[in-house]
Point group: C2
Chain length 210, copies 2
Amino acid sequence: MEERYPIRQIFPGLEEGLYEELEQYADIKEIPAGTQMLRKGQTIRSTMLVLDGIVKLYQDDEEGNEFFMYDIEPGEACAVSMVCTYRQENSQVVAKALTDVVVLNIPIQYMDEWLGKYKSWHYFVIRTWRARYDELLRTINDIAFRNMDERLLSYIEKQVEKMGRQVKLTHQEIATDLNSSREVISRLMKKMEKNGWLISHRNSFEWTKP
Amino acid sequence: MEERYPIRQIFPGLEEGLYEELEQYADIKEIPAGTQMLRKGQTIRSTMLVLDGIVKLYQDDEEGNEFFMYDIEPGEACAVSMVCTYRQENSQVVAKALTDVVVLNIPIQYMDEWLGKYKSWHYFVIRTWRARYDELLRTINDIAFRNMDERLLSYIEKQVEKMGRQVKLTHQEIATDLNSSREVISRLMKKMEKNGWLISHRNSFEWTKP
DNA sequence: GCCCATCAGTGATCTTGGTCACATAACAGC
DNA sequence: GCTGTTATGTGACCAAGATCACTGATGGGC
């Protein structure tokens, strides 16, 4: 099983003893695309490291609003599952498998034990934490200070950085992620197209802005 | 010096050895009200535990916009100084002493060393992270999904919970914290007053909503 | 090639909240 | 008390973005 997902490559720089414990005590789970992996409010009994696929984290509320936070990719861990207790009656954080996903499941007691035992694990956890905290700060900054056109721009640039210049997202999907509406995104993207920033196709577009 | 700020009371539940190390290696700093204690982008060389006073954390950008994140009170630590690297050319996180503040300054190497050495420290750090991360999630939820009236309500309720029913804030200060404008806050608070939720005075108001 | 479903484009209108321009009001110092 | 300063109240107007109501495109299945 393990050899199909080379932990040492996906999570480089950890201590040898830690790799061995990971192989021994963590188990691999395969999760089909579309599965909801985490619904906040449920008690977290384990931490996940992503080996393959993309996990999308977003907030939603009872009125059907959604708001994209960030993606977790191979080599990254879910900070929320590490530390989060957030729960509000009318809103929650949701993790959803965007593609088929393979995760390494770590029971919470090892997660704690290793913090004292392996420096590299400790730094990995801190690093993960940092990255996610920073990402949230950036998000707050965006929605507090920036208008839709700027937010859309930085959203697209984030996508391009991850997935390449061919972005296969519909206007509706983008609107949902930004908690906006399709029409607004359509209009803004039309403008961007007129500026020569993109070439649009049916279910996707090509980002041509340098 | 130490005896004026009883660490054992302000930060209860830590291990005896840890208290002793804290007394030995951490030093107390007194900071006058209004001081800017942290400007993101500068490298963090130490962590702060707040012994007395209130530290306010907010984001700002180059256009003079501000956005309140949360307060740090005695018995709490600054998660940002623990983990944050956030830096964007046009925006930053600022920590400012709202009152005269006394902090315990912990050089970063002890902070790390203790994580392996004292279980109680480890849990304290995790707890701090959790609280701050949750707070940010809640904030995102607010600005993404809620209108100004709801945001104002939850802002006031947060203040009341901390400072009591006599809230000494001007409309302008509230507007700045919420990145709104004074007129909007004035109007909304007038409405609240008509609902019998508050009694307003010149530089303050009394929250009477049950 | 026709039908249907999905996706995209666009004008009209509405709502929220920001901005402007004042009018009061309250207090502080003299 | 008078005066200047700061805080608040309010109407008029503006702008961004949401919503509504459509019209076209595009493509897949049969």
